[in-house]
Amino acid sequence: MRSPFPVARRFRFSSRFPARCLRVGFVSILALGFAGTLQADDSMGGHGGSGEAHIQYRQAVMSGIGANMGAIASILKNGLSMPGHVAIHATMIADSAQLVAPAFKKKVVEGPTDAKAEIWADWEDFRKDIAKMEEAARNLAKAASGKDPAAVGPAVKALGKSCGGCHEEFRKPKEESYKNAAH
């Protein structure tokens, strides 16, 4: 009698799929996978260490800039006598500018980061803001090494403004960082 249930039939893999089909299929799957990893700027960060390592490095670079800014502020607001230090800190900020774009090259927005996706969407504007920071920092270094102490204040203000100009567009406010998932 014919069974109402489906009956397993013998299935020969090799007769269904000749060797050359298998080879083509295998190679194309490999190729697609490889192509996927080549889109390095569009990672899904957060899985594996790669994304978080980039977040860590770029935060280190930016913190370094912030530390130098804090040092300059500390000297000026407290009237500390540190001849030549403001110029050195300003130069360090200016020299850090070349590190920022490479540090942010890989797009990572998931994870404990305040970076906004606009960085990669408006990459050219991002580069311009970095250049503004470098210019302002070099101006401060020059003013701090110069003869006119009154030139330092406006130069510091301009440097501070360059921080804000970039952050406003490309960074979420620090106060909001508690909202980051993996904080």
Partner: protein, 331 residues
């Protein structure tokens, strides 16, 4: 001195006469007539202010002083739509959406335009709006406009501020109604809100405090209205006075406003006076980081233009407040 005067029926009556008649005639006239008349002149003239012997002079409003008051309020930045229109936003013409838990409220045009701004307001209208939250036609203002704080401003500051605003460019822009659900968009609801939450600000005497502290108290609470953003709100949208300046996750525009009481862990307890002054001038925190959002704007357009002694006053006052532990990240 008295004189006996014989009366018709022989009764003698004591007639009272001026004592000074005993003195020489000249002195009598001086005392009885000339001195009282001069005194009456002094009293009369003192009732007219501005005259040579006038009382407290009501001086005309001072636009320069008004500019100073303007900076102390944060440059009225909420009235310029920088977030959407950038630096090209017509200054003080309103239209900026301020996000609150009750909906989005749009700031008004406070340029001197006569039709869409405040150009045709009287001085009394302006003072009433700032102190009582009432428009010239008697409508209540939504308290996203911080009149509970501005109620503490002095007459002189208010009139000088008005004079400064009146000196700026008139821009035509209609005011937008709020994007909020009923009843929060309905002005009569505010009668209940005011009854629950609004008490005009009064500063008690503080004889044992320095002038700088008193000035700081006035600036922080009235002009700079720090409490409006930096204090948590109650369910009805009033300010939680028990946690004054202890920070709020829901500041205007939905931004977190930090705890600015001198708590060492969760507030500004580790900040020195110099740190605070520098911050209000430059927008740079002690760790070298800048500040963003609405606070960056009120610094840029307002507080950074204040004289150092005012910033020091603010710092001195803030550091004197009770430290309140309030960790906003865990609220």
């Amino acid at each position: 001195m008295s004189r006996r005067v014989p009366e018709a029926e022989g009764r003698v009556v004591q007639e009272r006469r001026a004592l000074t008649l005993a003195l020489p005639r000249r002195v009598h006239r001086e005392i009885v007539f000339r001195i009282p008349i001069r005194f009456a002149w002094i009293v009369l003239l003192s009732m007219f202010p501005g005259s040579a012997m006038g009382g407290p002079e009501v001086r005309p409003p001072d636009v320069d002083r008004g500019r100073h008051v303007f900076f102390a309020t944060g440059g009225c930045t909420c009235h310029s739509n920088y977030p959407e229109e950038g630096d090209a936003a017509p200054p003080l013409a309103g239209g900026r959406g301020l996000k609150t838990p009750f909906g989005v409220f749009y700031s008004t045009n406070i340029t001197p335009d006569r039709e869409t701004g405040i150009g045709d307001w009287s001085d009394a209208d302006f003072i009433r709006a700032m102190r009582e939250g009432l428009s010239p036609d008697g409508q209540h203002y939504f308290p996203v406009f911080p009149y509970p704080s501005f109620s503490g401003l002095s007459d002189r500051d208010l009139l000088d501020l008005r004079a400064y605003l009146g000196s700026l460019r008139a821009i035509r822009r209609e005011n937008r109604p709020p994007d909020a659900p009923f009843p929060f968009s309905w002005r009569p609801t505010l009668i209940a809100w005011k009854w629950l939450n609004f008490e005009p600000l009064r500063f008690p005497d503080a004889p044992d405090r320095s002038e700088a502290w008193i000035r700081g108290r006035y600036l922080v609470n009235a002009a700079a209205h720090c409490g409006e953003c930096h204090t948590p709100r109650t369910l009805t949208g009033g300010l939680d006075r028990s946690r004054w300046l202890a920070g709020s996750r829901e500041g205007p525009e939905g931004e977190l406003a930090p705890n600015i009481t001198p708590d060492r862990k969760t507030g500004i307890g580790r900040w020195s006076i110099a740190d605070l002054v520098w911050y209000l001038e430059m927008g740079i925190k002690p760790d070298g980081d800048d500040t963003q959002g609405l606070m960056a704007e009120v610094i840029e357009h307002g507080y950074s233009h204040l004289p150092k002694r005012d910033l020091e006053a603010i710092a001195i006052y803030l550091k004197s407040l009770p430290a309140i532990e309030h960790d906003l990240r865990r609220d």
